[in-house]
Symmetry: C2
Subunit: 428 residues, 2 copies
């Protein structure tokens, strides 16, 4: 008879309560599968007296997460408070010092302090696990760390912020502007208190940085993620992209290149017929590419009580089953610092410019592209108002640097109105 | 310094050689990630002298897999020969008796003898792992056993035979008959030596039975899988289904109902816009539904050297990392015998009948459906030749039993030519 695995849960929001419900509702299932009873010793949250829709009377209460993390009757400290400093960080450090394993859904904390935390856990012989931090209910940390553990990973891609995908698909479906859908989503409570975490790509960038670390054996480096949010995506671009058989997604891509590790989180065009292109609404999708497995695609809910709690309990079950795999898939001391490569991988680009209607203006634009070494795959010019017209260009493969150079040159011609739009077309 | 994990590999076909290549090409990666060197001690296959495109000179050779499985310098016996009796079974039993863990890609063997083998492994304190047996490179055994381990599983669905999906999508794309595409696929070597394993749904049924055991904690029971192959799917049905927004897939579904465990492998209609409906060619897809996680979809290559070897090495890496999870996700002695439920879950059905052109014949058909308690969602009658016309019916939810009764009644009317077609519409 193995002793129960005793949890201390800090944070009783959606995910914390979801976890409590799973532990309360399916004790026999968890025990049969893991070989141990899973119990909750103590919980902690900001306010003790709030009704959270679950009976917490059987658990000790701690006002302070750091105290909870160090309790003698806690084997696994479950951090579900969020925040990349303060109580979350302090309590996880306290848990490790006190000899506890840690399960967390905190992507921001790990994306910023993951290496240091993994190292201290390792020195203490303890584990930090974070399946719930990436893509909610999708077991993608496990798929990458374990399921594809024999692969050299070639590329990791993902749509990992459901709110952004909701906004982009809703813009297209309803023909609304970014601002209209943003306001709507905000009113519905779909966005973080600081919406930039969502629409600025920060939240998804945290997730990408975590996956990149596992994929390439590198120290997690969120600062090196090239971030571009969806705020500049217009309904015109969405419609034009659709006309040409593409969808616009906030897509994260991590690739190890000869020039270093490239991590990008930015709006991209993907083929409408691809799994990524077909992804609607708040669902998440991660694409893993390895030298042996070729391509595996995982799709599922990226947030919500049940799905995120499902990922948290999976980590807990693994601990109960005695699985002891390092935080990032290999000992933290072997993780290397990757050189950050910016836009090292070439791609086709979608360009939209508002061209002044003068004889020879299109020729001038084409010449600038040619001088920048960019060849044109497709070009469309549309009917115009008084004195300017939109021109759409799909280039052959080129670099971001070349595109930026060309855009810089455009501005010197006096033939362009407004700011040119350049969106990468990711091959998927 | 941990000792190397030493493999004995029986079967040097596509998958065996794929595994050898991974071990040879990426030794440092495997060691860094698992904490142990992965080495090959010995190999075995039918013919020693065949050129297999990999250098095997460094490994001992055994003519007999049973001898290989018992070698002192083998820690993990990797069975990649196939076949559900004979050498595969004997050698796995020998390996377990000799105290080896086992990794196999053998779905037929485990679908038929999995319970007995898991029990003997368990008694010996050894593991049998089989990620490669289900859906090739997709880490679905891991996702279900570990990633969703905190979920009550509501339904498992999958397109798990790439050849069948290739045939069905090719029929639609090229407008060819089943027999034409079957012959083409056979000539291209896409089908098993006994094509019934593919097109009869047997191979996919094996995989479904394995997933059902993990999902529901039941003893694997392939005999209880209701099997229906794709041989009776016509291009007419594919086209009619497409007209109504559906695709026809060979879909496996496992559900635990109040009446027992339902396991079906049969052609089904699924919405064209769903991930299953969008699946083209030889790719596999598994849909896992749990009470907490809602729905997770996994998509990837279901066969081939690299993908299948990727799954085999993942199991080996888990063993190197010290992961000791029971074969079917819980101790074999706790797995229960499930009562087999046949068609317990109701669904809408697609019916196609060839109706003789007589006054009142359609009314008669409608009356029979009504008497069987089947209500009609949509009906279409087409222009007819001399004396009969196709009638398409989509029913509301009903049972297979009711549909079969109605079809039985149809035949007594003298108004039907040929055999009526009835295909389940799976809600996805």
């Amino acid at each position: 008879m193995t002793a129960p695995l005793r949890l201390g849960i800090a944070g009783l929001g959606t995910v914390g309560i979801g976890l409590v419900k799973i532990v309360q509702n399916n004790p026999d299932l968890l025990e049969t599968r893991s070989g141990r009873k899973i119990t909750i010793s103590a919980v902690s949250a900001r306010s003790k007296d709030k009704d959270r829709g679950a009976d917490l009377s059987g658990y000790a209460w701690e006002d302070n997460a750091v105290d909870l993390a160090q309790r003698d009757d806690v084997d696994v400290y479950v951090e579900l408070m969020g925040g990349h400093e303060g109580p979350a960080k302090n309590s996880i450090e306290a848990a490790i010092s006190a000899g506890k394993d840690v399960v967390t859904a905190n992507k921001a904390l790990l994306a910023i302090h993951g290496q240091a935390l993994a190292e201290s856990a390792e020195e203490a012989g303890k584990l930090i696990r974070f399946e719930a931090a990436v893509a909610g209910g999708i077991p993608v940390v496990k798929a990458l760390t374990e399921g594809l553990s024999g692969n050299v990973i070639n590329r990791v891609m993902g749509v990992m912020n459901g709110s952004c995908n909701y906004i982009l698909t809703r813009m297209q479906d309803a023909g609304l502007t970014y601002q209209e859908v943003f306001d709507e989503a905000n009113a519905l409570g779909y966005l973080e208190a600081d919406p930039q975490l969502d629409v600025g790509g920060i939240d998804a960038g945290h997730k990408l940085a975590l996956l990149a670390s596992i994929a390439y054996g590198t120290q997690v480096d969120f600062d090196a993620v090239e971030l571009e949010g969806i705020g500049s995506v217009t309904i015109e671009d969405i419609n034009q992209a659709a006309d040409m058989g593409y969808r616009i997604k906030l897509l994260g891509v991590a690739q190890l290149t000869g020039r270093g590790l490239e991590q990008r989180m930015s709006p991209c065009l993907v083929p409408a017929s691809s799994p990524l292109g077909q992804l609607q609404g708040g669902t998440n999708m991660v694409v893993l590419e390895g030298d042996a497995v070729e391509q595996v695609v995982l799709r599922g809910p990226g947030a919500g009580e049940g799905p995120t709690a499902s990922a948290v309990i999976a980590d807990i079950m693994d601990l109960a089953r005695g699985v002891r795999i390092s935080t990032f898939g290999q000992p933290a001391k072997y993780l290397v610092k990757a050189r950050a490569a910016r836009a090292a991988v070439s791609a086709p680009y979608y360009l939209r410019i508002q061209l002044v209607d003068k004889p020879g203006s299109l020729a001038k634009i084409a010449a600038i592209l040619g001088d920048a070494g960019i060849s044109i795959d497709r070009m469309r010019q549309y009917g115009h108002d008084d004195h300017s017209a939109p021109v759409l260009i799909v280039t052959h493969k080129t670099t971001r640097t070349a595109v930026d150079e060309a855009i810089q040159q455009f501005s010197t011609t006096g033939l362009i109105e407004g700011a040119p739009v350049a969106i990468r077309i990711e091959t998927v």
